[in-house]
Symmetry: C2
């Protein structure tokens, strides 16, 4: 029987992930469902959470839940208004308590960050950044958080100074699954050399990407371009465009990459080709460390 | 009762358009259906054509049908193998006769063009180019055919010398209708100044487009960016990227734009801002002139 001290929740647009936490950093148990914020009406959030973690609750005790991600957006369960950079990634005062009907739990949501100029927003990544800082005390420098909406962030003196978002992952999904390019990527496969060459090309000549995208389809039709080569080249073109646009972040700087292992390795490979040293942290480990840091701040500031 | 000499057909991925042609350039009648090549199995093409033009056929006479577009692709009705540039836009010898069961008509398909390096393909636009040349005898220079897959073509001495395709229209549709940006574009509207500024920005700094795309969403969330401004800016960013990549085609050259009126006007505006003079031709007029030219070549070369 799992009896956690508290429950950590990473609640994004497509998935709900919950972790039963004891006194250690490693979860006692974890659970996931596809009850992402994107498919839930406001009144469906508490039932979705109870479906997933009901078995960890205790009728004789109130268990605190600390959540981050799109659950705190205006279209989510309960809005946790953005905090504006420059600011620390976490601040106990900004956390929002969500009204719940079940007496066995309390729920608090970590707010996202925004940036006025250039306009930008994040929800969830601030918790990963806080986690990365908790795991690397005193870290000063650049973080890269690759994903559907990749983020680059400059952190200094424990504050997020600035950040920038790229739609790289979403563009890859749209182009490889829904555009005319999907016809050339119906089979699995990958080609490192094709990734490297495409990356290098958009990094040095970003204006070519428009023509190079349709070229993947054309080369498939007239020269039998292999699906794995096409997929790797599409990835290289898009990550190359992201690196071309984020150069001010990574040029001459070591970069801490926080993300899924396979994607982080691709970014690490791409940055290494530009002479940039990287370290990788797991997305799950950092989000847990960030939620744990949020809980600690809460406890410290509770009356 | 419509009794055409021949029938012109523009058969793309999403639509089938047929024109009853007499001796003049203006059609006697036209008809359209959404029986595009994309939704038809091979045996469904002839019935789809008969549904649309059956009323124009004559039991006592064989009426020739001349078609262009994706109908001639490998996944279409009958494959019309690509001709390779440099070559004239049309060549009667490359036209493919399609076997049909109905004795009242013959069907011929105009083949598309391909380019070996850089790899590229077109199907349908070669007929518009031929039509533009028929309407402007002796034309030498650059054509721009904006659309789902925009084409730029260099024409010299009545041959297509080279061409390049950009997925601008498809990217606009995916981003404005299916990506996270759709949330900021749910209402109609447009803003010329936003279009101009975004165009100028990607033209001069194409590497910024990655960050500027998500910026549309962020500015909507934190500063209430108007849907019309967001849409115009997205269009400007994407057309700007196309112009950045097609600079070798238009720099210092007058450009003949062939396309839908509203989209052609946008390209004309964008090119004018770069000091490029343009003329516009209607897509329908050029495709009809191209199909008419194809028919004339056929008659000339018939035994």
């Amino acid at each position: 029987m799992i009896r956690p001290d508290w429950i950590a929740v990473d609640w994004g647009t497509t998935h709900l992930r919950a972790f039963a936490m004891g006194s250690a950093a490693t979860p006692l148990a974890e659970a996931v469902s596809d009850d992402g914020m994107g498919r839930l009406a406001r009144e469906a959030f508490e039932p979705a959470l109870l479906r997933l973690v009901g078995g960890w609750l205790d009728p004789d005790r109130v268990i605190p839940v600390v959540a981050c991600g799109m659950v705190g957006s205006r279209q989510g369960w309960f809005e946790a208004p953005y905090r504006t950079v420059p600011c620390p990634a976490l601040d106990a005062g900004g956390m929002v308590q969500v009204p719940v009907t079940d007496p066995r739990l309390t729920v608090r949501i970590v707010p996202g960050l925004n940036q006025i100029s250039p306009p930008d927003v994040m929800r969830g990544e601030e918790t990963q950044i806080a986690g990365a800082l908790a795991l690397n005390p005193g870290f000063d420098g650049v973080l890269c958080l690759p994903g559907t909406h990749s983020k680059w962030a400059q952190v200094s003196a424990a504050e997020v100074v600035s950040f920038q978002t790229f739609m790289t992952g979403e563009m890859f999904a749209l182009l490889s699954e829904q555009s005319v390019l999907r016809h050339g990527m119906t089979e699995p496969g990958w080609d490192d050399a094709a990734f490297d060459a495409a990356l290098s090309e958009t990094l040095s000549r970003p204006e070519r990407i428009g023509a190079r995208l349709f070229g993947l389809r054309a080369e498939g039709l007239i020269a039998g371009l292999a699906p794995g080569v096409a997929r790797a080249r599409l990835s290289g073109l898009l990550i190359g465009l992201e690196l071309a646009g984020s150069r001010a972040y990574w040029l001459g700087q070591p970069v801490l990459i926080v993300g899924a292992a396979r994607l982080s390795a691709l970014y690490s490979r791409a940055l290494a080709a530009q002479g940039v040293a990287t370290r990788q942290l797991s997305a799950t480990e950092t989000v847990l460390a960030g939620l744990a840091a949020a809980r600690t701040r809460m406890l410290e500031t509770s009356p």
